[in-house]
């Protein structure tokens, strides 16, 4: 379990996260919703160790890991699928996937096996394994980004807005992939603007507004419309 407590991150004087606390439970899909500018991506980059938090704590299985460098965070099993499908555009699909296993270069055999698993999971990637990643379509790049993350054998998969900029039919395909990963018992933390789709798959959700968690719960127990409205538009002014 990843326990995040009172994380504060700012860009210069502008506080983006004003004390965020949330738990990511093992085996399940935890979803973070929120409008633009709420700090969702900031939280992902902070967990990944790329942005530095000013305060707070982050524990995986009770071990404090806040302040570790990005590659050390990956070694702890926390692997990010970044927003906008940051693949290596000028490297082949195969090299992109092997790059995902940087953390495990000692075990050669395991890497080959995992590469085979990922290519079986995403047959489109197998077809294009020698192609440059930059020439793939948006949906294929997203698959590649997920595949690359799986190559690291993650304990927790952080996914930042996988649906951004994809056609609705591709979004459904991506969510089916995410749902499949969840059904395998993987731990996923999904940051998503598409609240409608996310609530369909989430086991638990948090709502982030203006750098604070303002609402949390299980999708079955709340009014979806209310959450969706707040996730898109932010909190309504007190009336």
């Amino acid at each position: 379990m990843l326990e995040i407590a009172d994380i504060k991150t700012s860009y210069g004087k502008i506080a983006a996260l004003k004390g965020v606390s949330l738990d990511i439970h093992d085996g399940g899909l935890t979803c973070l919703l929120g409008p633009n500018g709420a700090g969702k991506t900031t939280l992902i980059w902070t967990i990944a160790g790329i942005l530095k938090a000013q305060a707070g704590s982050m524990k995986i299985d009770s071990e404090e890991i806040l302040g570790l460098k990005p590659h050390q965070i990956v070694s702890k099993g926390i692997v990010t699928v970044p927003e906008n499908r940051l693949v290596f555009p000028d490297m082949s699909v195969r090299d992109n996937l092997i790059a995902g296993a940087f953390s495990r270069r000692k075990e050669k055999g395991g890497i080959e096996g995992d590469l085979e698993d990922v290519l079986t999971r995403f047959p489109r990637l197998r077809e294009r394994s020698e192609q440059m990643a930059g020439t793939l379509s948006g949906g294929e790049q997203q698959m590649l980004a997920v595949g690359r993350a799986l190559m690291a054998r993650p304990k927790i998969l952080l996914m930042d807005e996988p649906s951004t900029g994809l056609a609705p039919i591709i979004v459904e395909e991506i969510f089916e992939i995410i749902g499949g990963l969840r059904d395998e018992g993987r731990t996923i933390f999904l940051v998503e603007q598409n609240a409608h789709m996310a609530l369909k798959y989430a086991d638990r959700f948090y709502l982030l507004e203006q750098g604070r968690v303002t609402f949390s719960g299980e999708p079955g127990a709340v009014d979806h419309d209310e959450v969706i409205q707040r996730a898109y538009l932010g909190a309504r002014k007190a009336s």
Binding site: A48, F88, D90, A99, F102, A152
Partner: protein
Amino acid sequence: MLDLAQNTMDGIAAGSAYALLAIGFTLIFGVMRRLNIAFGPSIMVGVFLGAWVNAQWSAGLIGATIATFAGALVASIYVERLSFAAIRGDAALASMASSFALWMQLEQGVALAFPGRTTAFPTLPPLLDVQFVGLILHGDDILVLTVAGIALFLLHRLIYRSHFGLEMRALADSAEAAAVSRVNTKRVAFLTFCLAALIGAVAGLLIAATDGQVSPKFGLWATIKGLVAMMIGGLGSLRGALLGGLALGIVEAQAQWYLGAAAREIVVFGLLFLCLIALPGGLAGMRETGAERKL
């Protein structure tokens, strides 16, 4: 016609050293997105150390070679720590300005330590010139081409066949994606800097040994040659750096033969402007493959 061919051959030998300098710049630029203009002066420090070791203990070419590699490496690490590791990644201009300051420091330091300025460097072992169909391939040039060729081959293996090479290409391709893929970006950047220093030292060594001497102005000279070759070839492309270096060598040799030494630099910089305007992607940009654009 024979002159043209002879000049081209001479130019290729000189150009192979330029290509190594350009590749050193390109490695650093590709991985860090920052220009290290103290690259030439760092190599100059190494070459001077080689000359000094040779003068002190008559170490010969072997001893001078080892000292040159060591000196260039230490000077480059000094530059990396102060101008790159200590300065935030997105402050490219600060790094460049700071590397300029270190350039002056290195150049003045060497000028103080060697008041005679120009210092002798052990020459290459004499090799017989080879003649065929009226052309002369100089013994020195054969040696230079062989050494440069071996260095390029090893570098190619390292970049495209090794794990470290994959990490380097990943970092050059996308720093963020590399960081989330567990590339230790700082370590890879540091090692790339060291690699560039070694490649540059090979170039410095070949040039100093061919000339049999070195002066503190070698730093300026190496930076300019390397930068011009890199720009002609296409910024950030390894293949471009190789092509740019060879093109620079050939054009220099032709210009010197037909127009004289004074006109040589004018022609070279004219070519640079022509390239920047007509071929903004450089020679490598003409055939855009995508695969090696950044590294």
